[in-house]
């Protein structure tokens, strides 16, 4: 029935794939494993498309220099859209496109010899823009972003990440993170803020199973399933002067910069502050002395 179809919600999944391998300790020396990871991601994307006819998928890849839009392509190359071993054309097209474009991206980055942090926040930004566009086009849409990364923390992009996370929160977009490398507290914060799932598979070889179990369910279904419990997130801010995480500090009320020790002039905005001195001590009650 047409009315039935209109009422179902479609689910948009945007996969953000971090292809920068220079900091990925587990993957940079093991191409087979890296290839397996990529294939698992593709299979997972197919599984998502298989869940419902109206589901949508997008893929963004990023490495140390660029972010690249992988899927869906603007100009579809229809040349080799022939069925092979009975696979559904959609899945076929998806796989071919993704593999081709990632190969192109890898070739470019191999040629440029760059190393460093990946442009993950930029890729997330592009993903959110796509989500925003699809939310205008589709009437009922729930969107989530899956970040697959093998790199650790990208501290230099702290502010960008925070902007992305809060934007996603405003747009009701979940950000899931599948972290193959070292723990990233920044991404953990993002998952916590948006309500997504942060997961670190103990064995990268079994990645597909982990992905299917943890990240395939839609947001509404998740609270009915027993998924891995939320981790305790370290929300401590870093002070501006020493760049160390502080529990208790001083905040400038004008520019909101955090410092660990009091200074009469805020270093960022030059506001003057009065010295608070010591904290006021409550006058001790005099107890009656026994004679």
């Amino acid at each position: 029935m047409d009315t039935g179809e209109d009422l179902t919600e479609s689910s948009l999944l945007v996969v953000v794939l971090d292809v920068g391998l220079s900091r990925a300790t587990t993957l940079r020396n093991d191409p087979v494993l890296a290839g397996q990871v990529l294939e698992a991601v593709i299979a997972f994307s197919n599984a998502h498309m298989m869940m419902r006819l109206k589901n949508l998928l997008a893929l963004v890849a990023c490495d140390t220099e660029t972010t690249e839009w992988i899927y869906p392509e603007r100009k579809a190359d229809m040349s080799d859209l022939r069925q092979q071993d009975g696979q559904h054309e959609l899945f076929n097209e998806l796989e071919r496109t993704v593999r081709r474009k990632i190969a192109q991206l890898l070739k470019r980055s191999a040629g440029s010899n760059s190393k460093g942090e990946s442009m993950l926040s930029g890729a997330l930004g592009r993903a959110l823009c796509y989500v925003h566009r699809m939310q205008q086009e589709e009437r009922q849409l729930n969107a989530r972003v899956l970040v697959v990364t093998a790199n650790g923390q990208s501290v230099s992009q702290y502010m960008n990440f925070m902007n992305v996370f809060f934007t996603a929160q405003k747009q009701n977009v979940l950000i899931d993170v599948c972290c193959l490398g070292p723990e990233s507290s920044l991404l953990q914060q993002g998952c916590d803020i948006t309500g997504g799932q942060y997961f670190r598979p103990p064995q990268p070889q079994g990645l597909l199973q982990y992905l299917l179990w943890v990240f395939l369910p839609e947001p509404l279904l998740r609270n009915k399933l027993a998924l891995p419990p939320r981790v305790k997130v370290d929300y401590r801010a870093a002070c501006f002067c020493h760049r160390e995480l502080v529990d208790i500090g001083f905040v400038c009320s004008v520019c909101l910069s955090i410092v660990c020790k009091f200074s009469p002039i805020c270093t960022t905005c030059h506001t003057l502050f009065k010295n608070p001195g010591t904290l006021p001590i409550k006058p001790k009650r005099k107890k009656a002395k026994m004679v």
Binding site: S22, Y158, M162, G206, Q209, S257, K287
Partner: protein
């Protein structure tokens, strides 16, 4: 007399059981002392007295009987030498005094118990607390009512609103024909109350005439017979007790009309029923303002106006008596006072504008005043934009290594094949063993699902244990509330209370919590102590606080 109560009334020549003596009416009791004695023979507390009776009129003996709750009765005979009238007077004075005093004491004893019962039945939480704390002897019943119940008691005490007067109350007294040309009027105390409120003159008459000159029924019969009540008030000729009332009413009306309407927004003159007469008003003005109307009609209209006026005045009086004022009344008063003070036209318009403005604007719907924001001058703009970068994190970070070209080549080669390896060999994606491993880790109880113990226990508890746990929480939280309210103990009473509450908590722990835990372990062992761990935590922190406080006290006293 050795008692310390005040003697309100003393009547001599009162006989009790054939002996003469003196009757004393005191603050809390009624006492009778025989002549030539100095100890009281008979004494009855007002609280014990159920009711008093007087001998009917016409009997030779003038007696007053006091009936107690346990059906014992004492009869006092008034034997004043001055004669029956004196005796009657004395007896009536005693009776009146008792009538005032008895109600105060009468209901106290039962009422307390009744109130307590009502409270317990109305608040099931209070009942539960009572059962847990008092019946298991954790705290005594007096402590319970003193400390824990007042919160619930206070809810019942509210401001009683005065009941207004219905405009139709006189009409509601529907007369019933008696069969033989008579009319029966049914009067209830509410109607009487309304009549008194509306017509204070009638109340004055009532107080004068009843019960001395005539009885209640006679008074009301006269009232209904008089033309004062009926719509045709031809009261010039009759010698009725109510003619005065009518005259007073007339005078009141005239006074009010003279003083005029003080509300500037009300324009009485525009109430006229002006219609376009024949000829669309151009013709001669005939019927609108003529006074050729029936006298009877005019009288009736005057009656209506008077009645409404008295009803409104009654409500106004009751409001100002109680000290609170309705908004409309208040406005009328304030605006009237302002008008009276200045009496200028200008002020009248100001008052009118103010009144209209009050009706138009709602203060809490208006937006609050906007704050003037300070301008942000940044010197280190990059700091503001990019935030702090934690150095420590980056130091522990993995140093970026260039990926070896061979690896890259291999990877590119893998990726360049249009279809993945899974097409040839499905197990290349994931081996079954690894998949099963992953599933095992992710299932409840697996290595990745560690935080779920507490959540699962909620579904495992049987219903009766759950309810018991809830009641335990209720009692513990109530006791802890009182305990923590004692800190910091600034007065000796608070210190005492803290000590008693501490002991109470220990008693509760032993009497209620331990058996519950044992029961849980016996009946539902997978839960074990997790379910009561929070309760234990609460109690332990209370014990700790008490211990620290005791320690500090000891240190100070050294």
């Amino acid at each position: 007399m050795t008692s310390s109560e005040d003697v309100l009334l003393q009547v001599s020549n009162v006989r009790y059981q054939k002996k003469t003596g003196t009757l004393y009416v005191m603050n809390e009791r009624l006492a009778w002392m025989m002549d030539n004695r100095d100890t009281v023979s008979v004494s009855h507390r007002y609280a014990d007295i159920k009711l008093q009776k007087i001998s009917p009129e016409g009997k030779s003996k003038i007696q007053l009987q006091v009936v107690l709750h346990d059906s014992a009765a004492s009869t006092f005979q008034f034997t004043n030498v001055g004669g029956q009238a004196e005796q009657i007077r004395e007896r009536d004075s005693v009776k009146d005094l008792l009538m005032q005093l008895l109600p105060k004491f009468k209901r106290k004893v039962n009422k307390e118990l009744e109130e307590k019962n009502k409270l317990l039945t109305d608040n099931p939480t209070l009942l539960q607390l009572y059962k847990d704390l008092v019946i298991s002897k954790v705290i005594t019943s007096e402590e319970f009512w003193a400390q824990h119940a007042p919160k619930y008691v206070k809810e019942n005490v509210g401001n009683k609103q005065p009941i207004g007067v219905s405009g139709a109350f006189l009409a509601d007294i529907k007369p019933q024909t008696d069969g033989c040309n008579g009319l029966k009027y049914k009067l209830t105390s509410d109607i009487i109350e309304s009549i008194f409120k509306t017509y204070p003159a009638v109340r004055r008459k009532h107080m004068e005439y009843v019960p001395h000159k005539m009885s209640e029924s006679e008074f009301w019969t006269k009232f209904f017979q008089s033309h004062y009540f009926h719509r045709d008030r031809i009261h010039s000729g009759n010698k009725d007790i109510f003619t005065e009332c009518a005259k007073i009413d007339d005078q009141d009306m005239d006074k009010e009309i003279d003083s005029g309407i003080k509300d500037p927004l009300v324009d009485i003159n525009s109430f006229g029923d002006t219609t376009f007469s024949e000829g669309f008003g151009v013709g001669s003005d005939t019927s609108a303002n003529s006074h050729t109307g029936n006298i009877v009609h005019q009288n009736m209209i005057k009656r209506f106006n008077q009645h409404s006026f008295m009803v409104l005045k009654a409500c106004q009086h009751s409001i100002t008596e109680n000290g609170t004022a309705e908004n409309g009344q208040k406005d009328a008063h304030t605006s009237s006072t302002v008008a009276k003070d200045d009496g200028d036209d200008e002020d009248v318009t100001v008052i009118k504008k103010r009144r209209i403005q009050e009706k138009l604007t709602y203060d809490d719907l208006e937006s609050s005043s906007s704050n003037v924001a300070a301008c942000l001058n940044l010197s280190r703009v990059d700091r503001y934009l990019h935030g702090p970068i934690t150095d420590t994190n980056s130091s522990t970070d993995v140093p970026a290594e260039k990926v070896s070209s061979s690896v890259m080549r291999e990877l590119i080669r893998l990726m360049e094949s249009p279809l993945g390896s899974s097409h040839r060999n499905p197990a290349a994606l994931i081996t079954p063993a690894l998949a099963i491993n992953a599933v095992g880790e992710l299932s409840p109880g697996g290595s990745l699902m560690k935080g779920f113990q507490h959540e699962a226990s909620a579904s495992m508890t049987p219903a009766d244990i759950e309810t018991d746990l809830k009641t335990l929480y209720l009692s513990v939280c109530e006791l802890l509330r009182h305990f923590w309210a004692c800190f910091p103990p600034t007065t000796p009473q608070l210190e005492e209370k803290a000590t008693t509450m501490h002991e109470t908590l220990h008693r509760f722990h032993a009497a209620k919590l331990k058996p519950f835990e044992d029961r849980v372990i016996r009946e539902c062992s997978p839960l074990s102590h997790n379910i009561t761990s929070h309760l234990n935590q609460l109690l332990n922190s209370a014990y700790r606080k008490f211990a620290i406080w005791q320690q500090r006290k000891m240190q100070h006293f050294r």
